[in-house]
């Protein structure tokens, strides 16, 4: 009977590891293979604090969470600049460093002997010294950790994490602080994993470095992948299946050592098979936004705003020896649509990148409302009211259309984890307002009927409209569109033109990069001609097009 309870305790502890790991890899797309190290740091922290300082539960658990959160942030530091394979290797390196410390800092960690005699948890004189007694505590902690992960996953913060997973630069372009997001999700996932570690230390009363190797990380990874990335219920299911399934091996007459090897091989095989057969996992990711919360009213998203002129002077950008843009003065007037035209490689997108902080100019400065934007990060510039779109769209393809819009909204208190947990009513009220506003924006771009569909299911024209909607959602007054109309049919263009005209008519400052001269002629109030990184003219479209010198340049 105790054996059954022991399995349930294991399920509870592994479910903590699987859900927190899912926050990292499933929600945020941060593939860090150091979860076993977080688990281990939590376990060692409890082991050391109880045996050497005599602290009693739950204080070692809480201190362990703080220490592990700091370790998690140490991984996040290189992850701020790099991703993908680099993150894999750096997280492995951290895993090895932690293992080396456990093995070699003998005075603190007992070296290869590990630490024995960790006291059991005593609650109100009741010593949790066997599996049945320990189970309620394990389940309670697992439920609490699941609740925390759940709150995060379903908050606006969690939505932004998923958006970051889909496209990091697009998240920057809608004004999110990616640095803060990565630091907090690493700290959180690490802290949650350390809870499992602390409980484990109290439960088995012994820790050694062998328990916290890469094998364990792969084991937990198999749980997350089997259950389904981006879905926390899946992680619970995966943890349950992969904890219980290997126990069946016990009924075969194998030596313990061989049985252990076969168990590990089983995880590997399951991992490969699930990726081949059902890569989304047993319970696939679902959109967590409920459209029935729609309060019904629609705010006026086309209302008048008082934008100002966006001005770049003497802009210059060099990449090594290559001059991409030099000596360019740009001024984009409010209430009008300004076109940027020029042959391929003229520096149009580079100009946008300089205006929005995605590139730092080698010389010159950008000013808005008499304020230089020098040195500001892209997300800070968005918050000042200047936003841009990308030629290659960069939608959050696995999020729903409405989530693509909502994630871009500014000043969401739900972006702060503090507010998510300590001011949930405010967050919920805002979510309703944001939902109404997002629906209003979608109706403005004639996309309301697609609100609950996944962005990757949209047609090309609908994707382009969603780009406009997402940019509007930032509430920026200056909207810079990189080829928003390219590839659209003449019929569609006729439908889309009024949207841009209404945006300009409401007082916003609009600029578009466009190759189609007909579009420039019928949509733009003025156009800037760029070629070879220099500005050649800024005038009304008719004037530019009647200039034979520019025509030769354009068609050369």
């Amino acid at each position: 009977m105790d054996y059954l309870f022991h399995i349930l305790v294991s399920v509870a502890l592994f479910s903590i590891l699987a859900t927190s790991f899912n926050l990292l890899i499933g929600y945020s797309g941060l593939f860090a293979l150091s979860h076993a190290a977080f688990f281990g740091v939590g376990a060692y922290a409890t082991a050391i604090l109880t045996t050497q300082l005599g602290l009693v539960f739950p204080i070692p658990l809480l201190i362990g969470m703080i220490i592990t959160a700091l370790v998690g942030m140490a991984i996040a530091l290189p992850a701020l600049r790099i991703g993908g394979d680099y993150l894999v290797i750096v997280s492995l390196a951290l895993q090895m460093i932690v293992a080396a410390i456990m093995l070699n800092w003998t005075a603190l960690t007992g070296g290869t002997d590990g630490i024995r005699g960790i006291p059991r948890v005593v609650i109100a004189g009741w010593e949790l010294n066997n599996a049945p007694r320990f189970l309620p505590l394990a389940v309670f902690c697992a439920a609490f950790c699941f609740w925390i992960s759940w709150k995060i996953g379903n908050s606006p913060f969690g939505r932004a994490l998923k958006a970051m997973r889909e496209n990091e630069s697009a998240v920057l372009s809608v004004g999110k602080n990616v640095v803060a997001m990565k630091l907090s999700v690493f700290a959180l996932a690490a802290a949650l994993a350390s809870v499992a570690g602390s409980l484990y230390a109290h439960y088995v009363t012994f820790v050694s470095a062998e328990g916290f190797t890469l094998d364990l990380t792969v084991y937990v990874l198999a749980m997350v992948i089997l259950g389904g990335t981006g879905n926390l219920w899946g992680s619970l299911l995966g943890a349950a299946i992969l904890t219980i399934l290997p126990e069946l091996l016990k009924f075969l007459a194998l030596s313990p050592d061989v049985a252990d090897k076969i168990r590990q091989m089983l995880y590997g095989i399951i991992l490969i098979l699930i990726l081949r057969i059902r890569p989304q996992g047993l319970i696939p990711e679902t959109s967590n936004l409920n459209l029935t919360r729609d309060p019904g009213y629609r705010p006026d998203v086309g209302a008048l705003v008082h934008a100002s002129r966006l001005e770049g002077t003497g802009l210059e950008k060099r990449f090594g020896g290559i001059v991409a843009v030099s000596g360019v003065d740009i001024s984009i007037e409010p209430g009008r649509i300004t076109g940027l035209i020029g042959p391929n490689g003229a520096g149009k997108t580079t100009a946008f990148n300089l205006l929005t902080g995605f590139l730092k100019p080698s010389a010159g400065e950008v000013r808005y409302r008499d304020r230089p934007l020098t040195g500001l990060k892209p997300h800070e510039i968005v918050r000042l009211g200047i936003a841009r779109s990308f030629q290659d769209l960069r939608l959050f393809t696995r999020l729903s259309v409405i989530e693509n819009v909502m994630v871009a909204m500014p000043r969401q208190s739900g972006d702060s984890l503090f507010q998510v947990f300590f001011n949930p009513w405010k967050v919920r009220r805002e979510e309703r307002e944001h939902l109404a506003k997002a629906l209003a924006i979608l109706s403005f771009v004639q996309l309301e009927h697609r609100a609950s569909d996944i962005a990757s299911d949209l047609s090309y024209a609908e994707e382009k409209l969603l780009v406009v909607a997402r940019l509007m959602a930032t509430e920026a007054e200056v909207l810079l569109f990189d080829e928003p109309l390219s590839g659209l049919s003449p019929d569609t263009l006729e439908q889309v033109f009024p949207i841009f005209r209404k945006l300009a008519g409401s007082g916003r400052t609009i600029a578009i990069i466009e190759h189609n001269l007909d579009v420039i002629r019928s949509l733009c109030d003025s156009a800037i001609f760029l070629d070879e990184g220099k500005k050649f003219a800024h005038d009304r479209p008719e004037v530019l097009m009647n200039d034979p010198a520019l025509a030769t340049r354009y068609f050369k």
């Binding site: 290797i89 390196a93 090895m96 590990q264 091989m265 399951i270």
Partner: protein, 287 residues
């Protein structure tokens, strides 16, 4: 001073080993962009084939050849039956990486289950020792340096002078463009898997001769190769060699002042710092 000279030589020897691993990992990783985690355990399997043959009385040279040959074969099978199907179904890189981790676990534990976890040594490994002044170098150590030099030269000639070699380089630069100009990227992938796995098998067999082989040595084989590639700069084989030597030297010279139990951590700290401050790698040649 004698100690320093010995540490320097040890660093160069270990550096050669890491450079060989970097070469083998980079040769696969550069053109295919597959993070081939199972690389290490598969090379270990090849070393076990060599050990098994030698155990059966096969002469050492032939046993080593059998190991290298089976390494190449295992690499080909691995691409053909694991990665190629993933790529054909359009799986993202992350999915392939996770699949590779799955194979890593399977192969490592398979070796442990079949052969046991004890250290395997050859019946009569090469055991000559040379003295150059105050510095000691063993025959196997000399072979490690020789293996790197000969592989690097052979690979350099192959990549620079042959049609297949240039196709590998083209794919390393830009896989899409390589497809556009008519390179059969599947065949090139098979080729680099065969070559890279053979080189890794070579490194693993040298470890078998030097320290003996064990079922869990695959981690170090793939990890140090990966680290050498990242430290040197992804996409450059010269960088991988330089990265390998940098690791070997830092690790070995670090022992001058740092207690030896921390030796293996030095490389990880170096990696961590490189990625923090110079993520494009120390010797990045290509933008």
């Amino acid at each position: 001073m004698d100690l320093l000279a010995q540490l320097l030589v040890n660093g160069l020897v270990n550096g050669s080993h890491y450079a060989l691993l970097g070469l083998s990992f980079g040769l696969i990783f550069g053109p295919t962009r597959i993070t081939h985690f199972a690389h290490g355990p598969l090379a270990t399997l090849a070393a076990y084939v060599g050990w098994w043959a030698a155990q059966r009385g096969v002469p050492l040279e032939l046993a080593l050849l059998a190991g290298i040959g089976s390494g190449a074969l295992i690499g080909i099978l691995c691409y053909q039956y694991l990665y190629e199907p993933f790529e054909r179904s359009g799986s993202p890189a992350l999915v392939i990486l996770i699949g590779s981790l799955g194979l890593y676990i399977v192969v490592e534990n398979f070796i442990g289950a079949v052969f046991g976890t004890d250290t395997k040594v050859l019946p009569n490994p090469p055991s000559q020792v040379f003295l150059i002044g105050p510095v000691v170098i063993t025959q196997v150590q000399a072979m490690q340096v020789f293996a790197l030099i000969s592989s690097a030269i052979a690979l350099g000639l192959f990549l620079g002078k042959t049609r297949f070699g240039r196709a590998v380089l083209a794919m390393n630069d830009n896989i899409e463009m390589a497809r556009v100009v008519g390179i059969d990227t599947d065949r090139i992938a098979l080729l680099v898997f065969a070559l890279g796995s053979a080189i890794a098998a070579c490194a693993a067999l040298l470890i078998l001769m030097r320290d003996g082989a064990s079922s869990h040595m695959g981690f170090n084989l793939v990890f140090m190769g990966f680290v050498a590639v990242v430290v040197g700069g992804i996409g450059s084989l010269r960088g991988a060699i330089a990265g390998g030597y940098a690791l070997g030297l830092v690790e070995s010279l670090g022992m001058w002042k740092i207690p030896s139990e921390w030796q293996s951590s030095i490389a990880f700290v170096v990696l961590f710092l490189v990625l923090l401050f110079r993520p494009q790698g120390l010797f990045a040649g290509r933008q």
